[in-house]
Amino acid sequence: MLDQVIFYLFSAVAVAGAILTVTRRNVVHSAIFLITALLATAGIFLQLRAEFLFIVQIILYVGGIMVLFVFVIMLVNLDVAVRQLRFARQKWVALLISLALAAQVGLMLWSTGKMPGQGVPVLSAVPADKLPPNSEEVAKSLFSSYLLPFEIASVLLLVAMIGAVVMAKRRA
């Protein structure tokens, strides 16, 4: 019961935050609502007993990436951004894409009620508490089975770092 309430609370906040992110005229407000949405997502991770991801979401996503966003928003001239139209065009395209997506997933779930392939009843599958809520587990798996992806990710970050520096560096 408590679990459910927490889930609904967080997901409501997440969805509301997401909608406001996309619709706000002021970019800083957008960023604030995105932060709200991300924090709510972190809450859902916690509700899923993924504690490590919860804190990574807060430290990296909210504390790192979003700070970067806010920083850049302040650097670029905001007044220009505020004045213009929110939604450029492609309203219909957007509607179409989202409807199609929703229909696709909905249809899939509706028609089968099962996960494709494995036959788990999707809408009602409640897992037993198999997963120990443990950051050690994540770490072990990260450094054993997924060592190569981990290294690749770090190379990716390095590349991104260099790229960002080169991009942002003023041409003297």
């Binding site: 991801l53 990436i65 850049v72 409640v126 994540v138 770090s154 960002a164």
Partner: protein, 100 residues
Amino acid sequence: MLPIGHYLFLGLALFIIGVIGVVTRRNVIVILMSIELILNAVNINLVAFSRLYGDVAGQVFALFIIADAAAEAAVGLGIIIAFFRNRETVLEDEMDLLKW
């Protein structure tokens, strides 16, 4: 934990909102933020399935996605700064030159 469907629908909702944001907004920064939303939607699904199957692989992949998001944000914002410096705009439909 709730039935997995709840999480899937939450993920779907965030994903669609993100897509709408990417397609309709003009401001590149907001577009980037919408992409973050999409990535988050995926993360929710991954973590939910990880819990469903009792396998941490999903969480590990969510971690990779977060790392990827960081990289993407850094480069994306770097491009925005470089672009803004040259063209004084952050609007996507004014980015109409391949070279400047």
